[in-house]
Assembly symmetry: C2
Homo-oligomer: 291 residues x 2
């Protein structure tokens, strides 16, 4: 009689970042990551063929509000962008499987959506470079703690995200990118508080880039009721839309680069983020300015 | 008989950065700094009352293309923004006198232009914070070395600079800033070379933010023949305008903030830069990416 097959022992508490990643690796966690491992930073992933890595790095550095860079690396090894930034992951990891779901692009077009493993597409360590980019989940916790519940959290849906006409600073092959923004409605007289609360989250898009009804036209948004990504949310009497830089921006830049990009680009599927081992407060400690 | 009064001994070669600063300190160098101490980085200066320093710092970090931060500090002491950036000044200095000419702003309005010393306005070390911001002089040398002489250098005039409608990412009190751009015309078929040559100068505005005739309207520039700053230059048949982020942007942001800024803001006078002790190649060595 053969010995019983043992499941790998998950040496992590159930809702720890490490546990979420292990379950994702095993294909057992395939849902969005909002609400998992609360207090830990979650990150957007973008993986580009090595030939475009320098241009994409430059795109992030030139557009830190929509594309705040947290780390760069291979599938199993990451480097922080500054010597004082803490490592995002403190256990062995594999970016090809540790995220619940992925999107895949070829020549700027989405060719696979929501797959749970990209190991076969990213088989060689040298072929691609991974970029991890900050996410607004972090500052939403701070808004909630201040009694400024984001509407989509209240409604139990995804945040509303819009393509805009606001240009990114071009970088190499990425000449035609524009900001993607997330929108949360707030009463006009709370906008300054909302700005103050989200401002310190510099590596997670920071304070809004625009607010008020006049910003809708200025950003080239045709219809607030029809977001390009996520779900439309109600805007109540006396509220105004408030817009933040959004981590979907880099995927949008890949799409706009079209067939200038040869090879396979991979990314997390929206809402299905990399759950990191860094606590928000730990990250802020390292973000202290010289002032 | 009293002993003869001795002039201070300038222990610096005539065209060294240190010599230029010492002569400026003595009121003997009051002209623009272009062409002085070639190969050394020159920097824009912006000095804000301490109450606005955090917001201004955030403005720079959120808009690194027009406002690339080289150092922050007091009149006599500077801190580099990253641990690997070399110190800008390696001799004792005083930012209140070591620049040939200064501008002064109150409530967003220019109240003094071209004065040679601001020691009386910035008498207390704690009252203000200084920001040093990269300048496009550096990449102009690289363009010239590649046979792509900027037109204004050829014409012996100042570079053409324009206010645009392209918004800065807002930061605290600085909500209404827009890009100021510098413009150099180049043949359409040289634009990619020009982009490639200036791209590595990340701390000096890097590659252009826009180019071609369609960019003129897109940036909201009414008349290329009437730059808001500097001098108009000829655009020849077959050439297109190429636009870069410009270090006048922060002064423009101060003006647009208007009477939201209480107290005295000081800056270098356009073209009259801080000549630093850092060689361009030395700076690039420290800018190596992790890729």
């Amino acid at each position: 009689m053969p010995p019983p097959i043992l499941e790998p022992i998950v040496v992590a508490t159930e809702n720890s970042p490490h546990a979420v990643r292990l379950l994702a690796r095993q294909g057992k966690h395939t849902s969005p990551t909002a609400g998992y491992a609360p207090g830990y930073i979650q990150a957007n992933l973008l993986v580009v063929p090595r030939a475009y890595a320098t241009d994409f790095h430059s795109l992030c550095l030139r557009n830190p509000v929509p594309c705040p860079l947290l780390a760069i690396g291979s599938a199993t090894s990451l480097i922080s962008p500054t010597p004082t930034t803490p490592p995002l992951l403190t256990h062995p990891f594999d970016l090809r499987s540790d995220i619940p779901r992925y999107n895949v692009y070829h020549a700027g077009r989405l060719t696979a959506s929501g797959i749970t493993d990209i190991s076969e597409l990213w088989s060689s360590a040298d072929s691609h470079v991974a970029f991890l980019i900050g996410c607004s989940f972090s500052f939403e916790g701070a808004l909630m703690a201040a009694g400024l519940m984001p509407r989509h959290v209240e409604m139990g849906c995804n945040v509303a995200m819009y393509s805009t006409s606001r240009k990114l600073n071009p970088a190499g092959v990425f000449t035609d990118g524009t900001y993607v923004v997330s929108m949360r409605p707030y009463p006009q007289d709370q906008v300054e508080r909302v700005r103050d609360i989200t401002r310190p989250y510099a590596a997670m898009h920071g304070e809004p880039i625009a607010w008020g009804w006049e910003a809708v036209q200025e950003l080239g948004i045709a219809d607030l009721g029809a977001p390009e990504f996520g779900d439309a949310v109600e805007i109540k009497e006396g509220e105004v839309p408030v817009f933040w830089g959004c981590g979907v921006t880099p995927q949008n830049a890949i799409m706009r680069a079209g067939d200038k990009i040869k090879g396979t680009v991979m990314a997390h599927a929206p809402g299905h983020m990399l759950v990191t081992d860094v606590r928000e407060e730990e990250y802020f400690k390292t973000q202290a300015t010289v002032l």
